[in-house]
Every structure is written in C-alpha cells, then in structure tokens.
C-alpha cells in the first residue's frame, strides 16, 4: 500500500474514533482539539474509569467488534486503539 493510502486509511479511522470519543463522553472538544497520540488516562486527557467503560462500549458498537478488557496497552491513546482495530479482520476490511 502506498504511503498516501496508508495515511488516508489511518486518518479516516482516527477521525472516526475521535467522533466516537467526543459523542460517547459528551466532551466539549472538537476533533482538531484532540491529539491521537495523547494519553487517554493519567497525565494526558485524564479520562476516568467510567469514561473508559462508556468509550469502550461505544467503540464496540461503532465498529461491531469486541474489545479485550485486559489489554491496558490498547487503550493508551487513540493511536494504540486504532492499531488494535486495524488488526481485526472485520474492521480492517
């Protein structure tokens, strides 16, 4: 896949995840006010455990997938979550 195609696919996925994040948590943020590499929890966007649950449920619904409950690494940022989603055959397609 060309760099341009890789970039476009990733941008679309990240934009979609930002939308799910903002809508599911009712964040007072626009997509361009969120960095895809920013930590979602702790020193970063400082989401809490309730936010996490809401977000995970919303992502599972939006992408018709099941996310692991013990994969703490996956939820580190929108980028790491996108990495996981891209690895799922149904989502990658």
């Amino acid at each position: 896949m060309s760099n341009a195609a890789v970039a476009k696919r990733r941008r679309v996925l990240i934009d979609r995840l930002k939308g799910v994040l903002i809508e599911s948590l009712q964040l007072p943020l626009a997509p361009e006010e969120i960095s895809e590499d920013a930590p979602l929890f702790g020193i970063g966007m400082a989401l809490d455990s309730i936010d996490a649950l809401q977000f995970v449920v919303a992502v599972e619904e939006a992408f018709s997938c099941s996310l692991p409950s013990d994969g703490i690494w996956i939820y580190r940022s929108l980028n790491t979550l996108a990495d996981h989603l891209e690895s799922l055959p149904a989502v990658a397609a």
Partner: protein, 362 residues
C-alpha cells in the same frame, strides 16, 4: 556546597552550571540510571526545576492569563500540566501548577533558554498577586520507577499510597512539611518532593534507607526516558519554535478558555490546520536517524528528526520527528538520507511498555 549536592556527588552524580544555576546531570553509569528508573527506583536532585509560588487574590487571574491550562477549576491539591507560551505561541516552557489552597499555587517547571519563570510571571503586573522564587527555599527531589510508590510510602507515610496522579499532598515529617506531587513524564510512577533545603539531606537519607536498592540519578537520562514514551521534552522537541498543536500538546490546552497568552495565534492555527505534526518513528535493528536528519517520502523531503536514540527496552532505534501533516500517520514509511534504502516507520506512542503499567501498588 549543600548537603544534597554532597550526597549525590558522593554517589557519582556530576553537577554542572546550567540555565543560571546548578543541575545534577548524571553519572558515568547512565545505563544504570536508566535501569533504575525503568525497573526499580531512581532518585534525582531536581534543582533544575523552577519553583515559583504565586499567591494572593490575583493569583488565579494571573495563572489563567499566563498559562494554557484550566486553573479556574483546579481544586485544592489538584495539579495541572500547562504550557506557558509567547504571543506567537512559541512554547516557553511546560509546567505543573499545584493549587495549594485558596489563592495559593506552586508552579514547577524546567528552566530553559534563559527563561526566568519568576520574572515571566511577575511581568504580568498582577497587582493582587505575589510571585516568589522558591528555588533558595525549597529543594526538589524526584522519585521515579515502578517501585517509586513503595519508597515514597515507606519514607513519607502510608497516605502516599493513595495519592493519585496529578494530585499533591503535604506530609509531616520530623516536624517539617514535605510537599509531594504525583507527576512525571517517564511513563513510570513518579513523585516530586519539595522541602526546605535544611531538611532535604535528611529526606534523601531516609529515602535510601527505606529503599536501599534505589539509584542516584541525574537529569540527562530524562531525554531517553521521555523519548521512549514520547513525552514532550522542551529541551529537544521544539527546536524551530514548533507550536503546541504541531507537537501534539492539545491536552495541555483549555480550548474553552477565552484569554491567555498565545491564544489568538493558536486559534488561528487550529482553524487553518497544522502543516506538520510530531510523530514517533521506529527503525530497523541497529540503526537510527540522527537529530536533524531530513526524512523523505518518494525522494521528497517531508520531515526532520528532533530527537533520537537507541532504546534499551525497545531493542531498536527510536525517534520523534516533525512530518508534513498529509503523511504524519501511523504506518507511513520514510527514508533517510535521500536515496537510501534505510526506512523508518511512523508508529504509535509509547515505544515501550513501562514496568509501571504492570506493577500495582500493594
């Protein structure tokens, strides 16, 4: 020479003059310091951090104007990571703002490029706020590593175990007060401890008594530790005046705040879109681009490296670089120097999974 410096120099830590003061740079065993912070406990003299008290009726107003963060909603013992910007949104420094109580704040941030944080905050001319440089009054030590929480708890009391990230507390120790913040940018558990200089040596000795395996560390190793988790490093990551949005520091900005230094320029860029972004790069085994190297896509220059190194934990070269926005996405492959086959891949941060993500406080 002060007792803290004596203590660390006796353990091989070199001190140098820097940014108008002294800094504990490190030892000849940088890898040992790295291992300590990544696997156990590292203790560092952080006198390189500016410590500024802002208090008075106008303190909140001053910090709201001066910084990008939401100070208004900061409650007692809450800590906020913020940026101080120039009018043109150049990043002057990063800092933590700790609300000590009503109308009382402590600002903790790196001294860089000659920035005198006390003078900078005083320049806002806020008549109802006093801005006091506390460098001569308060020593600052950091405790970092997957077991830093244990050293902090054993040295300072059980209540430390309940201290959440971006929170502070005051601990009574031997009739004195130690200010403790749970912060850090290495991806490991981290605490900053501030106390009067006259009691700092006692605190350091206490820390090493309760944690004999802890290592004395310097500030130089912070470059690699920051890089491994892509924590913004003001020393390295904005060499050409790159902006907060280009550097991915959106989370340090309260976009709903109506006025702060640098806001007009930042909002214009947000509206127009960034042209480049700071991304993480991983390299094939054994090689890594150098700082300043230009990155190419299909023979066209599209970016430049601002920090790089070999990561002991990742086992390969890593870097952060600014790349043109169209290509600044995970999975894109870039070459350097022009025409070579050497290829780096943009990837998600962090580059390493830190031990602290696996260790649970017990």
């Amino acid at each position: 020479m002060d007792a803290i410096r004596e203590f660390f120099e006796a353990r091989g830590i070199l001190y140098v003059e820097r940014d108008g003061g002294l800094a504990a740079v490190g030892s000849a065993n940088g890898l040992g310091e790295y291992d300590a912070i990544r696997s156990d406990i590292g203790v560092t003299d952080r006198r390189d951090l500016a410590r500024v008290r802002v208090e008075g009726d106008g303190a909140l107003r001053l910090l709201e104007r001066a910084s990008t963060g939401n100070i208004h909603d900061l409650r007692e013992d809450g800590v906020r990571a913020v940026l101080f910007l120039s009018d043109e949104q150049r990043i002057l420094t990063t800092a933590y703002v700790w609300c000590l109580g009503p109308d009382e704040y402590l600002v903790l941030g790196p001294k860089r490029d000659g920035l005198d944080l006390t003078a900078h905050l005083s320049s806002f001319g806020e008549h109802d706020a006093s801005v006091t440089n506390c460098d001569a009054a308060l020593a600052c030590l950091s405790i970092e590593g997957p077991y830093a929480w244990r050293a902090a708890r054993d040295a300072l009391g059980d209540e430390i175990a309940g201290l959440r990230v971006l929170r502070g507390m005051r601990v009574a120790l031997g009739g004195n007060s130690v200010l403790v913040l749970r912060v850090g940018a290495t991806g490991e558990y981290g605490y900053a401890c501030l106390c009067p200089w006259t009691h700092a040596a006692g605190l350091v000795e206490r820390l090493f008594n309760v944690a004999p395996s802890a290592a004395s560390c310097g500030t130089a190793i912070q470059n690699l530790l920051h890089l491994e988790v892509k924590s913004f490093n003001r020393d390295m990551d904005a060499p050409r005046g790159e902006t907060p949005l280009e550097a991915g520091l959106h989370w340090m900005i309260d976009f709903r705040k109506e006025a702060y230094v640098g806001r007009p320029a930042l909002e214009r860029q947000k509206r127009d879109g960034v042209r480049k972004k700071l991304v993480g790069l991983c390299f094939p085994e054994g090689i890594v681009a150098a700082i300043g190297d230009v990155l190419y896509a299909d023979g066209t220059p599209v970016g430049y490296v601002v920090n790089s190194g070999m990561s002991p934990r990742a086992g390969h070269g890593i870097a952060v670089a600014y790349v043109d926005d169209e290509l600044a996405w995970v999975g894109v492959r870039l070459t350097w120097p022009a025409g070579s086959d050497a290829c780096a891949t943009i990837r998600s941060a962090p580059f390493v999974e830190t031990e602290s993500t696996r260790v649970r406080m017990t």
